[in-house]
Amino acid sequence: MPRKPVAKFTIDHLQVLDEHGVVDAKLDPKLPDERLLEMYRWMRLARELDERMLKLQRQGRLGTFPPNTGHEAVSIPVAMAMGPKDWFVGAFRETGGRLVRGEPLTSPLYYYNGWEEGNILPDPALRITPVSVVIGCQVPHAAGLAFASRYQGEDAATVCFIGDGGTSEGDFHEGLNFAAVWKAPMVCIVQNNQWAISIPRSAQTASQTMAQKAIAFGIPCVQVDGNDALAMWVAINEALDHARSGKGPYLIEAVTYRLMMHTTADDPKKYRSEAEEKCAWEKEPLIRFRAYLAGKGLWDDGKEGALIAEVKEQVDQAVRAFEAPVDWAQDTAFDHVYGTDHPHLHEQRAEFLANVRFDGGKEADHG
């Protein structure tokens, strides 16, 4: 049927550094050398932490966790571009960005070993929200935080992360719609790593790109090579400018790949081929960034060796701190139900402590 066009949209793709580390000179953001080196350092550290956590987990010294290997070029440049008043609202695969933002290396260790202590920031002014396990919930939080920044007269933006799988949740949709209606200063990063546990991107949604989901809310968007830290740097800066200037939210699809298992409880062999993984490893973000640095004369094998030794030692220290005996109380749960005092919780705490004494320090017997 013949029709009159009333609206038109285009989705663009952005890449600055190709998989061999060749830079598009026109697009190169020309970051100062020390920033480039800093970026690489964070990426190496995040990678190293993953590898160590995987070992600890396999040795029974850590609980289940979701590795962030392959995603370093997404959250790290984003966190580096953010200002101190900006809010960092992660899902659960942004370990790198969290570290940049100021979370101690011990935090993920405590967190993934089952201690709320991993959520406690050295300073709440870091403005990092805790991991949001229930997929999608964090998007409305981010819209609310972004609204609040403006309400409080701060020149700050909120950056929120979600996975390709997460885009299917109603909260993703509702949160973006609120942010757009409010013209809230928010950037949403869809970290499209091709998989949501075993569900491939193609079975998650029939849309050609993840970026175009923003069209539903009248939000501008771009698709970025998420293995390319420079493209992410360019995109996040443009997005933050857009958000801060009062034009409302911006959405970035970062196309990357989950190189490891979903969590350490998962076995990707059940649902994807080694050939696919191998191919993805060739495009991973660190190789190309290192080639870029080398091309600029900033890097060589010696420096790489030294850096690796350095981050290993940094992680070692964190693991030692994490594994040092702690004397955390067992009954903290009673302290944090409410911010007000209620008699039934005193009673139940006494009951709890009596039961712990009876059952002894040992694992209670649940049959």
Binding site: C137, A148, D171, D335
Partner: protein
Amino acid sequence: MAKLTMVQAINLALTEEMERDPGVLVLGEDVAQDGGVFRLTDGLLEKFGPGRVLDTPLAESAILGTSIGMAMAGLRPVCEMQFCGFSYLMMGQFEAHATRMRARTHGQVTLPLVIRMPYGGGVRALEHHSESREVLWAHLPGAKVVLPSGPRNARALLAAAIRDPDPVVFMEPKHSYRAFREEVPDEPEVLPIGKAQVVQSGTDVTLVSWGAMMRPTLKAAAEITGKRGVSIEVIDLLSIAPLDAQAITDSVRKTGRCVVVQEAPRSFGPSSEITALINDKAFLYLEAPVARVTGYDVVTPYFGREKHYIPSAGRVARALETTLDF
């Protein structure tokens, strides 16, 4: 002192709290321009402007979800669910975040927010507009659930809820919105959350209720007092989470008999918890089983049949007599 309806009293509390604290803001569907579908938020937009009184898009999960974000940043959002029948769409946000943020961060991040919602039957409304499901919130650790029963306590409890450091589900008995007026003091009043009120003291039987059911409860108490010359203690719980165990225990230890009145379906309802509490704390004082006057365990019928499904003063009176005669 002014004689206000509950709608007016709640509006007064919102106005007073917004005047007191610039971090308090109101959001929800139709709350601004329209003044709410019950006209409860009427005038707030004019007084405080569109930056603090927000008409939101139609999405309950995001209404709570964005409120959580605002509260994390230190604001005190008061959000509205247009009817409690639509609040289950935000149960995910409530369970996963509203009730847990404090525990998750050992108190570093707290969520001072209020979720207002009209609840209960008796207003000839469409499906989903008549339920009483307070227990769904009350069972979740970290939740506070407040249910005022009249204009004066509604105003004082809402002020408390807004000032409270934790998320509060504030359930407003819509049947009582305009059903009667009460003297409300000129000065702001604040009632403590988690404390019941002994509305009438007595020695022969304890009658416990909250919210909309306080009216048939008090009516039945008057009727049976008149008819049998007994002395009835009436407790208005005001909040069911935290539950004021002390007030209930003290009373039942004194009277030895108890009738609990709830609008919700019987099974797994609030009165079951109250009965269990009495079993724990006053077992040896009981001279009769605790009687529960409740909604039935049926899907709430449409309003054509509603009238017989809501506990009536007559049902409460009969339960009182049975309990007294046991």
